[in-house]
């Protein structure tokens, strides 16, 4: 017997029981939709849990790594700032016999250096996470913004500062416009500069 039975031979409405029911069967598009919906629901739920657990698994190690690698430069920046502040205080305090002119110059140089040091920003000095930037580009292109750190007052303030600086215009524009300079090089330059100033101040 031919299967499926030829419709032309038999009345259509007597036929239904011989054909496999469409509703609930393989060909039912609604079943497929339902299946997909359910499977996605479970997959998504699993995915969400997986992300959370995965993050927790590496968070501590990441922290330790980021911490350890950022300490040296941070320390040097702080040290420069402290040293410059101390030198200025010492200089202003000293009753030096030398000409008021050169004394004023020295004071000016110190203040300039202090200002420059004060403007150094963490994210400009410390190297950025190239892996993360790469990942963001590949996996989270454009809007779907990977994962961001939670907002808090301090980070909001940093954002505000950055924005103001961008708006602030030309005097800082040149600096931030150039490709991010090597933080290490910047610090080294300032260290050398300050060493010279130190000699001038302490010699007296």
């Amino acid at each position: 017997m031919a299967y499926p039975p030829m419709l032309s031979e038999i009345e259509e409405d007597e036929d239904d029981w011989l054909e496999p029911p469409i509703q609930g069967g393989i060909d039912d598009p609604l079943v497929n939709q339902e299946f997909n919906r359910l499977s996605n629901k479970f997959s998504d739920a699993g995915y969400r849990e997986g992300i959370t657990d995965g993050k927790l698994a590496t968070l501590q190690a990441g922290f330790d790594e980021g911490f350890a690698s950022s300490v040296p430069l941070s320390r040097r920046v702080g040290s420069l700032r402290g040293k410059a502040a101390a030198l200025l205080a010492i200089h202003l305090n000293s009753t030096s016999p030398s000409s008021p002119h050169s004394s004023k110059d020295l004071e000016e140089s110190l203040r300039e250096t202090i200002k420059t040091l004060g403007r150094l920003k963490r994210d400009e000095i410390l190297p950025e996470d190239k892996e993360r930037i790469q990942h963001d580009k590949e996996e989270h292109e454009g809007n779907e913004d990977g994962f961001e750190l939670d907002r808090n007052d301090k980070r909001d303030m940093e954002d505000l500062e950055n924005t103001l600086e961008l708006l602030g215009g030309s005097s800082n524009g040149g600096k931030s416009g150039s490709a991010k300079e090597d933080g290490e090089a910047v610090i080294k330059g300032l260290e050398d500069e300050l060493k010279e100033l130190e000699k001038a101040v302490l010699r007296r």
Binding site: D53, K55, T58, L59, Q60, G62, F67, G78, L88
Partner: protein, 187 residues
């Protein structure tokens, strides 16, 4: 026929957990990456926050040691006591700083149920240490008659620092700030 039905039922029940598992695995692998990135960011922030401050004290004290060592040796009467005291503060401060860890002292290994207490102790010691450091710095400043720098553990300073002119007001908290972050990471 019964076996067939059994298989199908099994398949159906397993399907749910299989999808979950597949999703979980994919999410986990992705999450590991993000945990790493996020951790690094947090560590970077924290290191800068802590060590920029400690480095400041180090640079400050170191400069005064350079200045005062020469003077104290000269043995000027009357001034000697004061300078020697300041020098001492500066040297103590420097040695305190030397003892401050340059890496985050949390064990990253998983089986550390025993060390939960020592870890809490280590945190407490750090809080104490930074307190001591700050206190010693203030002592040093007062012995030099200079105002201490505004503490920035909590607050971000927007203005460039003006050296000796920095305000003497101390804001911000000591221990709790440090405590909060590391405890968030202890899972």
């Amino acid at each position: 026929m019964n076996e067939g039905e059994g298989d199908v039922l099994d398949e159906i029940t397993n399907m749910e957990s299989t999808f979950y598992q597949q999703g979980y695995q994919a999410g986990y692998d992705h999450g590991k990456l993000h945990g790493l990135f996020e951790g690094r960011e947090l560590g970077k922030e924290k290191a800068w926050e802590l060590w920029e401050e400690i480095g400041y004290y180090e640079g400050w004290a170191g400069t005064y040691v350079d200045l005062l060592e020469g003077k104290v040796v000269e043995g000027r009467e009357g001034r000697k006591g004061k300078d020697a005291r300041a020098l001492n503060h500066a040297q103590v401060l420097l040695s305190l700083i030397q003892s401050f860890p340059t890496t985050n002292p949390t064990p990253s290994q998983p089986n550390n149920t025993i060390t939960d207490e020592p870890k809490a102790e280590a945190d407490l010691d750090l809080a104490n240490l930074i307190s001591n450091i700050r206190a010693r710095y203030k002592l040093l400043c007062s012995s030099l008659n200079v105002k201490p720098r505004l503490q920035v553990a909590q607050i971000v300073e927007v203005d460039p620092r003006s050296g000796a002119g920095a305000s003497g007001v101390d804001g911000g908290l000591d221990g709790p700030v440090k405590g909060v972050d590391t405890s968030q990471l202890r899972f």
